[in-house]
Symmetry: C2
Subunit: 321 residues, 2 copies
């Protein structure tokens, strides 16, 4: 038995925004409720607490239009250093050589993953990889915690079922056990599909998580980034009915028109995002409020939160701003 109490909800005079299940929050209730919500903390964050995501870390995947003719674009943020850099290098090369153009989304498993790439098991039929693809060792699933940073581990006091400590680094959830830390699988995380260990995959076949965090994959697969926009284009696809959730009917595969690094798109087409800096005071407040919901929808504050239930706030920077 252990306690799960994080510091109680902070005093604040902020208007609560409903993220609950009610359809409409009466205006009167909104005005009366001055307890902070995750949304109100985000809204109150100072402009300098937001950090731009380097556009050099963004990759855009254009799928074929949907049945109603709507454009489907997915934006993926690649993992910052020191994590998964060997695979991230491969992924940049694959995007820069147009490897994924004309490939497909070919596998969708409910509460598990949506997967894309060439999807051809037969090596003789598989699409050739570009020259320069690295073979990355399993040792790179984790990174050694630098001595000067180790005392910061676990600064939010979150209890985790899988690791000794949790943290956020440069906007990503990271977990740590002993002297090693690694990026963790959460909803919308992007990872490198592979065959049996010690194969670590090239990065040519990628997947994203469309269900509860499959944390057992941590340290067994390279987490290389996350979907930060357009997730619904991958999470709503029909589930595959073939072996391992592959589409049994090839016509169900969703064509990938192209994948490009954002910096290779025109200035107008290039997406720009920022995240609430995970080193900021507002982010610390956000984590505490997520662990201790006290706004008007809630009767009982959980007194804890798991790392994958703390979605780092990310927003698009529009030209109008």
């Amino acid at each position: 038995m252990k306690t799960h109490t994080l510091p109680a909800a902070l005093p604040a005079a902020l208007i609560a925004a409903s993220l609950g299940l009610s359809l409409a929050l009466p205006a009167a209730a909104q005005e009366a409720d001055e307890r902070p919500t995750p949304n109100s903390v985000i809204e109150a964050a100072a402009p300098e607490e937001w950090a731009a995501i380097p556009t050099s870390d963004l990759m855009v995947m254009r799928l074929a239009d949907d049945a109603e003719g709507n454009r489907r674009e997915v934006v993926i943020q690649l993992m910052p250093k020191p994590f998964s850099q060997g695979w991230v290098d491969n992924i940049r090369l694959l995007a820069n050589t147009s490897f994924w153009d004309g490939t497909t989304v070919y596998r969708v498993v409910d509460n598990w993953v949506t997967q894309w790439g060439d999807g051809e098991d037969n090596e003789e039929l598989a699409k050739p990889l570009p020259e320069g693809i690295k073979v990355v060792p399993e040792s790179e699933y984790v990174a050694k915690v630098p001595d000067e940073k180790s005392e910061q581990a676990g600064r939010f006091g979150l209890i985790d079922s899988y690791a000794e400590a949790t943290d956020f680094r440069d906007g990503f959830p990271i977990v740590q056990t002993g002297d090693y830390w690694w990026p963790t699988h959460c909803y919308a995380s992007v990872g490198v599909a592979r065959d049996l260990t010690p194969n670590t995959g090239t990065g040519a076949e990628l997947y994203t998580v469309i269900g509860h965090a499959p944390r057992q994959l941590d340290r067994n697969i390279a987490v290389v980034g996350r979907v930060i926009e357009g997730m619904e284009h991958l999470s709503t696809l029909p589930r595959g009915k073939g072996g391992a959730g592959v589409y049994a009917d090839d016509s169900k595969r969703v064509p990938i028109e192209w994948v490009r690094m954002a910096d290779d798109l025109s200035e107008e087409a290039r997406p720009k995002f920022e995240y609430l800096a995970t080193e900021s005071a507002s982010f610390e407040r956000y984590v505490k409020v997520r662990a201790n919901r006290g706004d008007s929808f809630y009767q009982v504050a959980a007194g804890g939160v798991d790392i994958c239930n703390v979605q780092v706030p990310i927003r698009r920077i529009t030209d109008a701003e």
Copy 2:
């Protein structure tokens, strides 16, 4: 810092079934790998370790056919005693009076919930509820742990971010803090939508979880059951673009043709399921193997697992058996 080690993977001479990300596991690798997997433990369970789900706890929801003319049916298992029984009684009454026939699935939020029912905020326009609907107090979100059972709490040793102990009762994940336990929100859990506290909802508006477990809703909303078949019909729906994820365009709402308790269906139409008894030796083994994957896809065993990542094995009983 704390340790997260569950007992190491058990010795067993079972053929491993792949639940990994590879497309196809070579037959040679399958034969060489004798370490247990969650699937191999399920397959090795004795027939008497499987428990029938009472058909009186099953509810079937028939949606309108999809665009390709495929039938869409969802099977929901209602929560057993002592949890949420006031709302479960309401839900039985609503099904028995055909309340949901002609209502819709009207709200879908990515990584959150799919919600259905009447969906009308205006009380004057809302569909009248049948006579006999109970008003259930918030105190029934939790139940008191019986004295004779309290020493069993936490028998699997799982570490939880939200409660002091975790357990499984009659096939459902249950968590406990102090003298109280409650059913927990996991992927596919079904709960009662409501407005602001102390309103606890009637059960007429229901939702299911389509993303990472929103455990902050525990003890704040009645968990009344779970989807055990047809989840993909709710998880793949287009996400709503109106306020709170309601479909802005009414034509996007998915018609509900009917909802009935399984016992009111004909013998041929009545679904039958069984689950791996959560009190069985095989279930205990299953939890340990889920926490310590050692089969050929895995390089590192997690040494832990969170309760929502231990999906209780459920299978349909077919007439052929």
